[in-house]
């Protein structure tokens, strides 16, 4: 029995995240009886979606044993660029289409800058993306120095509404999961994990490691851009500081989800769970009605406890 559990820990690094997620769901449902209502569940998905999207992108970079500390800044840049374009072009249907397209393009460009610096120029990933993050954040402030500007109500009503009876935010999450499912079946994904596992060995067996790392950063930029678009839907306005907190939250979500920062082990499913865990922790603290002086302390302790669970699983993994 024990060995089966260890084995499953090896094959499914996100198992611990799933357990923590379920526990938090139960606690949340006890504290908030309406938790399981469809409307409330959808509202939770809407609240956690931007972090989940950034965490998905971050996962690919981390699998190659790199890191993207500019992801939150990319979210901010995309948010202010999209809002500025849509408002600047008069809020028409065409302006929304242009805003969405250019927003994605900006995310990809940011990802390309990171990827080229890290994979081809061989800059150290932590310092590089920390620095590019400052550049991107500065660019966001230059585009929109003060929070503001508005997108037409149709935009946020569509985001908060439903398509074919299913909430838009659920469609976006499902599409992201499907996309990740497709990626996981590609040769690129194999190469990505090989690169993260042992970059020298991967290189010597003919894996184009530089191209693989670049693509991982492109994916991180893409998903950060999608998170930026989700935040436009959520806030209907631009804010140059909006993504700042998402960088470390995304790394936390990835690690909570069982992906190893040393690369190779892990996957997108765990990171989505990780993002939902972080969101649920905030909810639990909210509904437990703790005095606010305690909230930060308890939040940190729960995250540590969730991480500790992951470490226990990893120990089991090593022993097998």
């Amino acid at each position: 029995m024990k060995s089966t559990l260890r084995l499953s820990g090896h094959r499914h690094p996100y198992l611990m995240a799933a357990v923590v997620f379920l526990v938090l769901c139960v606690v949340n449902a006890i504290l908030q009886p309406s938790f399981l209502k469809f409307g409330v569940a959808t509202s939770n998905v809407a609240a956690f979606l931007p972090m989940a999207l950034v965490a998905i992108g971050q996962t690919y970079v981390v699998l190659a044993s790199d890191i993207d500390l500019s992801a939150g800044a990319i979210v901010s840049v995309v948010n202010v660029v999209v809002v500025s374009i849509i408002e600047g072009m008069g809020g028409t249907g065409a302006s929304i289409a242009a805003g969405l397209t250019l927003g994605i393009a900006v995310g990809l460009i940011c990802g390309a800058v990171n990827g080229l610096c890290v994979a081809y120029l061989r800059f150290q990933p932590i310092v590089t993306t920390f620095a590019t993050g400052i550049v991107f954040a500065g660019f966001a402030l230059w585009v929109l120095p003060e929070a503001g500007r508005q997108v037409p109500p149709e935009f946020y009503l569509a985001y908060a509404g439903t398509v074919l009876g299913v909430p838009t935010v659920l469609w976006i999450l499902l599409a992201a999961i499907a996309f990740a499912g497709v990626i996981a079946r590609t040769r690129f994904y194999q190469a990505l994990r090989a690169t993260g596992g042992n970059i020298q060995a991967a290189y010597q067996t003919g894996v184009p490691v530089a191209r693989v790392r670049l693509r991982a950063y492109l994916l991180s930029g893409l998903f950060a851009a999608l998170a930026g678009l989700a935040l436009v839907g959520e806030t209907a306005s631009g804010d140059p500081l909006i993504g700042g907190a998402l960088t470390l939250a995304s790394v936390t979500a990835v690690v909570l989800g069982g992906t190893a920062l040393s690369g190779c082990i892990g996957g997108v499913a765990g990171s989505i769970l990780g993002a939902f865990i972080l969101g649920l922790i905030n909810n639990v603290i909210f509904f437990a009605q703790l005095p606010f002086a305690w909230q930060g302390l308890i939040q940190g302790l729960i995250i540590l406890a969730a991480l500790a669970g992951g470490v226990v699983m990893a120990r089991g993994r090593q022993e097998t």
Binding site: A147, T235, A236, S237, N283, G296
Partner: protein
């Protein structure tokens, strides 16, 4: 007999149902604060919770749920979402952004929840603002400075965070006032990010660059820093605006500052709560009462502390802890009189 009995009992039932519907006497109000960087915010929440308790004297139970944390805009939206899901009657927000809450406030209103912002105005047409007019706040102390200088002299301004909406409104306020006095010359305007140490540094630099300064217009906690620099430089001839914490008032008293301070009361959230409960009780706002750039603002009075009332104010607060700010709350009675139809 039976018909009239029926009629009477129907009437009684309707009357009873009517009173029950109107006289709902328990309300839950969510308090959302997105930044905990100063004692002022803590005092704001404490006073709002206190005001909620005091409603019991009027036979109304007001429960509050406070959410106060350093969050970004999505984090504060999540707080508000939780309030909505919890089914509160009203949400009072000290908002982290003037515009980003439009969609979530629309969702709250669709669920029949009253939304009030305080301390910073919001653009949402689904919310109202109860708090001070930041521009009038600045104009009042600028007016004090101009009058104290007898309409003549060299002035510098030390401002908060460039680009912050409240700061922009305050800058517009003092500019408008100084423009009315041809004898007042604004030598320089600098930003010290609402930070006391940066305020002191800025004042030192300004004193070194412009020895001919007669007056200083400075905001909030930075005033304590600016005054320290003025004291160190032995410039008791300079008049400068002050701030409202007990610590500062003590030094003001000891050193006999020539100062005047507009009060941005931390009681603004308590005032908003009193307005919220009256509205939840079904009271209607007076016609044409809403002001401000978004047409949704109810402005509360802004006290001014200067030499004329300093001793009185100081006596009231001098035994409180140093970090406490001078405050005022619009009581339910005052709110009824100012904002609501009879």
């Amino acid at each position: 007999m039976s018909r009239s009995f029926l009629a009477v009992s129907f009437a009684a039932v309707f009357a009873l149902a009517g009173t029950l519907a109107n006289a709902k006497d328990t309300f839950t109000i969510g308090l959302s604060n997105g930044w905990v960087g100063s004692e002022w915010r803590t005092q704001m929440i404490d006073e709002a919770e206190q005001a909620a308790k005091e409603w019991s004297k009027r036979g109304v139970t007001v429960k509050t749920i406070a959410q106060s944390a350093n969050v970004d805009v999505p984090g504060q939206i999540a707080q508000i979402r939780n309030f909505i899901n919890q089914g509160v009657d009203a949400i009072i927000v000290n908002p982290n952004s003037p515009t980003a809450f439009d969609p979530i406030f629309a969702q709250a209103k669709a669920r029949g929840i009253l939304v009030i912002s305080t301390d910073a105005e919001v653009s949402s047409k689904d919310a109202i603002y109860v708090g001070i007019d930041q521009k009038a706040w600045a104009m009042q102390s600028a007016e004090w400075l101009a009058k104290t200088l007898k309409g003549k002299g060299n002035v510098v301004a030390i401002n908060g965070v460039a680009g912050h909406p409240a700061n922009q409104m305050r800058v517009a306020g003092y500019k408008e006032v100084f423009a009315k006095y041809p004898g007042i010359r604004v030598l320089n305007e600098v930003n010290a990010n609402w930070d006391q140490a940066q305020g002191q540094q800025a004042m030192q630099n300004l004193l070194a660059t412009y020895p001919q300064i007669n007056g200083v217009w400075v905001q909030d906690g930075m005033a304590a820093g600016a005054w320290r620099a003025l004291t160190d430089a032995k410039r008791s001839d300079v008049a400068a605006t002050g701030e409202i914490r007990v610590d500062f008032l003590k030094t003001w008293n000891d050193r006999k500052f020539n100062s005047g301070a507009s009060v941005n009361p931390p009681g603004c959230m308590a005032s908003a709560l009193n307005v919220a409960v009256l509205r939840l009780q079904g009271r209607q706002f007076k016609d044409g009462i809403f002001k401000g750039q978004y047409g949704n603002a109810l402005y509360i009075p802004i006290p001014l502390i200067d030499s004329s009332n300093f001793q009185k104010t100081y006596e009231q607060v001098k035994d409180k802890p140093g970090y406490i700010s001078v405050t005022t709350v619009v009581t339910p009675e005052q709110a009824e009189q100012m904002f609501f139809k009879k």
